[in-house]
């Protein structure tokens, strides 16, 4: 599964909420090979500052070479990405990393905030391959309804059963999405989760005690995305460091050490 350095063309950019943007790109090489949970290293600017590419998950791909990214503006690199315009080019390196391992049976997808972005691709693949059906649970949370609604769109039309929660109670349940998980756990074969680290740690712990398989998608500061710089270390359960860009970003929860942070 080779990586490509591809000069993609920006087809459109839409603002989904005050800080979240969806970029639709023409990137046939990467779109043709990407799997759910993989990411691209995106060159946000055209100068030497900011210097490094930013890791961004693949949100959706289509057979005609289109690829979508959903970006939350948190700093300089993502700010530059939000300012890109249709017709411009965007230099991508991808598809990178090890994605979700699709397995048949009753599953739940749990996403928090911008961590919801890679889950749509996963849900599509699970539903289209028939490995999941209407029993597929999608539990999504964010700070407010304004943040959550645009990210949560698309799952229901796939036929998944969607439940929402917000910190401020403006959409769905008032509280943490992880509070909704225990009720479902007895019926689940596997849980996929992507979101803030404390949320993933909580889901990993719940799954471990219920003996349900759990896959987590981790974040780390990255320079290369290729397994070369060794900058993206995360502690594994075996006491050794894993490299998030190469061994991950998706890991089996039990592979990782969840003690600190």
């Amino acid at each position: 599964m080779p990586e490509h350095q591809e000069k993609s063309i920006v087809l459109s950019i839409e603002r989904l909420s005050p800080s979240v943007y969806r970029l639709t790109l023409h990137a046939p090489l990467i779109a043709g090979e990407a799997r759910p949970g993989q990411f691209a290293m995106v060159a946000c600017g055209s100068t030497l500052d900011p210097l490094l590419r930013r890791p961004i998950s693949i949100h959706q791909c289509s057979g005609d070479g289109r690829l979508q990214l959903v970006v939350k503006v948190v700093g300089r690199g993502t700010q530059l990405l939000s300012e890109i315009r249709a017709g411009q080019t965007l230099d991508l390196l991808g598809p990178l990393g090890r994605g979700f391992r699709l397995s048949p049976g009753p599953v739940a997808l749990i996403g928090g905030g911008i961590g919801i972005a890679p889950l749509l691709f996963l849900a599509q693949s699970l539903m289209q391959t028939g490995q999941a059906d209407a029993s597929c649970r999608v539990l999504l949370g964010a700070q407010s309804g304004e943040d959550l609604a645009p990210l949560a769109a698309g799952f229901e039309t796939l036929g998944c059963h969607v439940e929402l929660a917000t910190d401020d109670g403006s959409l769905g349940r008032h509280g943490l999405i992880t509070d909704l998980l225990p009720a479902h756990l007895p019926n689940l074969g596997k849980v996929y989760v992507c979101g803030p680290h404390p949320m993933m740690a909580a889901v990993a712990a719940l799954c471990a005690s219920a003996q349900v398989d759990c896959e987590v998608s981790l974040e780390a500061h990255m320079a290369c995305g290729l397994g070369a710089c060794l900058g993206c270390a995360a502690p594994g359960a075996d006491g050794r460091y894993k490299h998030v860009c190469k061994h991950g970003p998706v890991f089996k929860a039990e592979e990782m050490a969840w003690t600190t942070r």
């Binding site: 350095q5 270390a233 995360a234 460091y241």
Partner: protein
């Protein structure tokens, strides 16, 4: 009449680092290109002058806790902690692919003691497919209270002699820039028998998060690399080239052919591309092509003609 002159042909890019002949002067810098396999889908490895692999120690090293990297203005700090698979697994797991790269393979070595360096040189000398050793002396000498080998001329000289004694491979010694006078270090190493020098390694730096009042790196301090360090590296290469007669490999912030050419003009015989591999994986091939273009434009038939070609004075 003399129409052969009018069509510029492919310039001769070959250079020699003492006993080590390279097809062109562009190599990859240790720690920024993994063991080459990581870039095999993105770079035609057989086009490179050489690959310098991630630093290898006698035993595997786990490296530092995260965060290990932090981006700075036109640069980055790293505190990887010399994570590597150790010499045994390097030979069994990494060398088979490296032998197929079709370019020079240089193995970067590091140790806690002079004996470590000597033992590594001994081990690696017996391995087919290795063209040279590069000795990273920017590591702490555990027996000398953790002072880096590369910051004391007598220790740098002792490491160089110990490695030379154990191997017939060409030995490149990689200098640390974190010294008062780089020329003193270069002379000490050259007089101890090094075949070539490479410089510079990273400059020690630090980052602080004002909001949390915490260091940006778990290790607190780390090595600065990338375009930000180029002027310092260029100055050091020029000073060393003016002082020693063995060949020099210029390293530090090289991302374009123009950058590389500046180092050649300052007196480097070859260059290594480091951090640029991260932000532009195609950098090395673009630099090779760009050097050839420059030579054609300048009417030079070989890269050798511009090495040390800096014009001083009026």
């Amino acid at each position: 009449m003399d129409n052969a002159m009018t069509i510029p042909s492919q310039p001769d890019l070959r250079v020699a680092l003492g006993p080590l002949a390279l097809a062109n002067p562009v190599m990859t810098a240790s720690g920024t290109f993994g063991y080459a396999a990581e870039f095999a889908n993105l770079v035609r490895l057989n086009r490179l002058g050489g690959v310098v692999v991630k630093g290898i120690s006698l035993e595997p090293r786990a490296g530092n806790p995260p965060p290990r990297i932090f981006e700075t203005a036109a640069g980055m700090l790293n505190a990887i902690g010399l994570e590597n698979v150790g010499v045994k697994r390097f030979i069994s797991d990494k060398m088979p692919h490296l032998r197929t790269c079709g370019c020079r393979i240089v193995v970067n070595i590091l140790g806690d003691s002079i004996d470590d360096y000597a033992a590594l040189a001994g081990h690696l000398s017996a391995v087919a497919g290795i063209d040279a050793l590069e000795v990273n002396i920017s590591c702490p000498n555990v027996k000398k209270g953790g002072v880096a080998f590369g910051t004391a001329p007598e220790m740098a000289a002792a490491v160089t002699r110990a490695v030379k004694q154990e191997t017939d491979l060409p030995v490149i010694v990689k200098l640390s820039p974190n010294v008062t006078d780089i020329v003193v270090m270069a002379r000490a190493v050259a007089e101890s028998g090094a075949d070539a020098l490479s410089l510079i390694n990273t400059l020690i730096g630090m980052g602080i998060d004002a909001r949390t009042r915490r260091p940006r790196l778990a290790n607190v301090i780390g090595g600065l690399s990338g375009p930000a360090i180029k002027p310092v590296a260029l100055r050091m290469v020029w000073q060393v080239a003016s002082a020693v007669s063995i060949p020099i490999i210029g390293i530090g912030g090289i991302g374009t052919a123009e950058d590389a050419i500046e180092f050649l003009l300052a007196g480097a015989t070859a260059v290594q591309v480091g951090t640029a591999n991260f932000y532009n994986p195609g950098a090395t091939e673009q630099i090779i092509d760009g050097i050839a273009d420059y030579l054609r434009q300048q009417g030079e038939s070989s890269v050798q003609a511009i090495i040390g070609g800096l014009r001083l004075g009026a």
